[in-house]
Symmetry: D3
């Protein structure tokens, strides 16, 4: 049975030691969605052509959150992100969010991608909360994770 | 139809001006859950009697994230939190998370409660990701929001 | 001759004690501009109708920076901002930036407004630097500062 | 005509992907100045022999801000700075500020140098604002940018 | 026997709820010292007349750390500090550090004063570590704590 | 006589330039202790079997502080930590704290280990301060520092 790598043999919190792992190209893709009422989606849609729209702000919030993952998730390593990308799709009842995080580092970036999705969804929530009292964030999960060969 | 309060008439991002609102006792409760495989839940359960367990670390991460909501969600105000509390319940297929945020402030704290739930869920994800590849965060939403009379 | 309030009698750095000052409504307006080549201004202009445009991102960066002034400027107090607003005007050779900061607090918010202008200008610089090698930030200064009567 | 690299083909905010670029020695020098009244310059000058003087604090603020550029400028990468240096020159009507940032990284550090100059200028502003109501930050720009050959 | 206020009845981490406590003038004084070799103390002493000296930088670091106590100590409340002051005394074998924190808030600021002392000591350590391999931080403790009557 | 490396020839604050130093495996161990009354130690001991206990929270606070050393200590470099580990030992009159920091970087991590010890001690202080008015942090110092051969 797999153990929890973030607890040591005594059950204490522990960062996994990555000092022996070489920096390698790594990518993680995560997704999630925020369910909104159709009227709220219309509001988002109609603002999209203007500056300062909801999705543009959620995108920036997600990118900035990805860069701060190490300070939010206690046992995460400090990873220099090569790129973070947020994509939004307006569906019939939800905004679907996809985040891609890329790095050249000794450990993976799934937490960075998942954090970007979560904070982008929370930002949409914040901006629409006066208009919609029934929002819900669903299906935040990892879509894929890839790893290249050693960069050195 | 309600408008998006965080965009001004030109559709530009705007913080809502709260300078005329007196500080009032406010509470918000949010919830969410992270779906895990039964074996992962057993791992969390068996570690609970030890120091450094998963839920204890997720609790601290959630409390600290609530205090940083203003830096994560671009248009949130800086709110001094009187209390943040995180409660976890181990169910058959998920850890259920409830966060309560309390303040005496001119504006509400639902974003603080929702951020606490999200970051606690992400922390559980991080600590279990070596053991469980199928985790999913679901049902992050506001449960209740109350507001007292003026504190002044 | 006026003294430097942030240095005590021994010439040491000192935060000004504001504990005896009541919280009062205060507003500060600051401005500045970033000089760009006409072709760069055209690029910004043509992107304005799309999501994610330069000014929208600079606006968010300015708002977030205002909320972090206390951590950037060593002797600034922690001020809860009631509102931050950034306005941009595309002129013939520059983007003109105006920032308004509002608070109910024992001390003023000119540093918050000035920080918002500076970081918004730096963000425009960052986003245009591949296209324009001659940008320059000019005229960052306070425009006005007002103070209401005691809020208590 | 050069495009804006921080917007993708759809006009959305995007971090430039630097994962294929090797870490290389890079240096950037930026400058700016803050215009002060002669009496204020005298105050700064006379405090320079004491501990806690204005320029010493502005220097620390600039160095610390350079290390936080990635959190201030939304699309900046997280760059480990090898060195940051701030130099001040008291001229007849201004404090002239020069910042040098050095790294071994896949992308440049001009934003780090420009941020150091801006925050150092804002710190001087903050410390002199009780004595001088006419300060103005001018001429914040890049002076030079150099890049070595691959470090690997 | 007194209980640990930061653990609830189930032994879980908890922020103490301060929402019912009115904001009151509060002051805390903390102290500590860093033991150094006499030669290192001479180096600090001889630099004191120059800009950028060790104690001036430690002072700024202590002030800034006090303002970030809430993010360093997980269960601390966000307290707006009215003033932070750091005093240093060069003794025969140590730099003695005193920090004073003042606020008008519903809860005390001893952690802010203690954090200021600790980070000032660590900053002196950092700046002297090339010259002195035997430094030691000792006696970090609260000196006094006072509380005024309700400010409202 | 050794000079202070963090001051340049003019006595100004300066980050040491590490751009010519290759990334190398480095480890630092620091220690310290917080003196508590026996009754307080009993309280900590009896909570250790529960979730949310004092030492578990101090451990997380120490790990997170280590990752933020660069923002707390003005002239520290941004170091990506490969691992941070905190160990606690309950002795008759104190909690003894040991922190280990590991990196692959151009410069050492003693400040990260010392910061982890200090913030863990402060967190214990915070959590026990309602029960114990006589706590004192003592003996914060470096235990060992090792450096491997070039990783490149």
């Amino acid at each position: 049975m797999p153990a929890l790598t973030h607890l040591n043999r005594k059950g204490e919190a522990a960062m996994v030691d990555v000092s022996a792992k070489p920096p390698v190209l790594r990518e993680a893709v995560a997704e999630g969605r925020i369910l909104l009422q159709p009227a709220t989606l219309d509001l988002i849609r109609s603002n999209q052509v203007k500056k300062g729209d909801v999705l543009s702000i959620a995108r920036i919030a997600g990118i900035q959150a990805a860069k701060q993952t190490q300070y939010l998730i206690p046992l995460c390593h400090q990873i220099p992100l090569s790129k973070v990308q947020l994509d939004f799709e307006l569906r019939s009842k939800a905004v679907h969010i996809t985040a891609t995080a890329i790095t050249v580092a000794p450990t993976g970036v799934e937490m960075e991608a998942l954090t970007a999705v979560s904070v982008a969804a929370l930002t949409i929530y914040d901006m629409c909360k006066a208009a919609d009292k029934k929002m819900r964030i669903e299906g935040v999960k990892l879509v894929s994770k890839t790893k290249g060969t050693s960069a050195t």
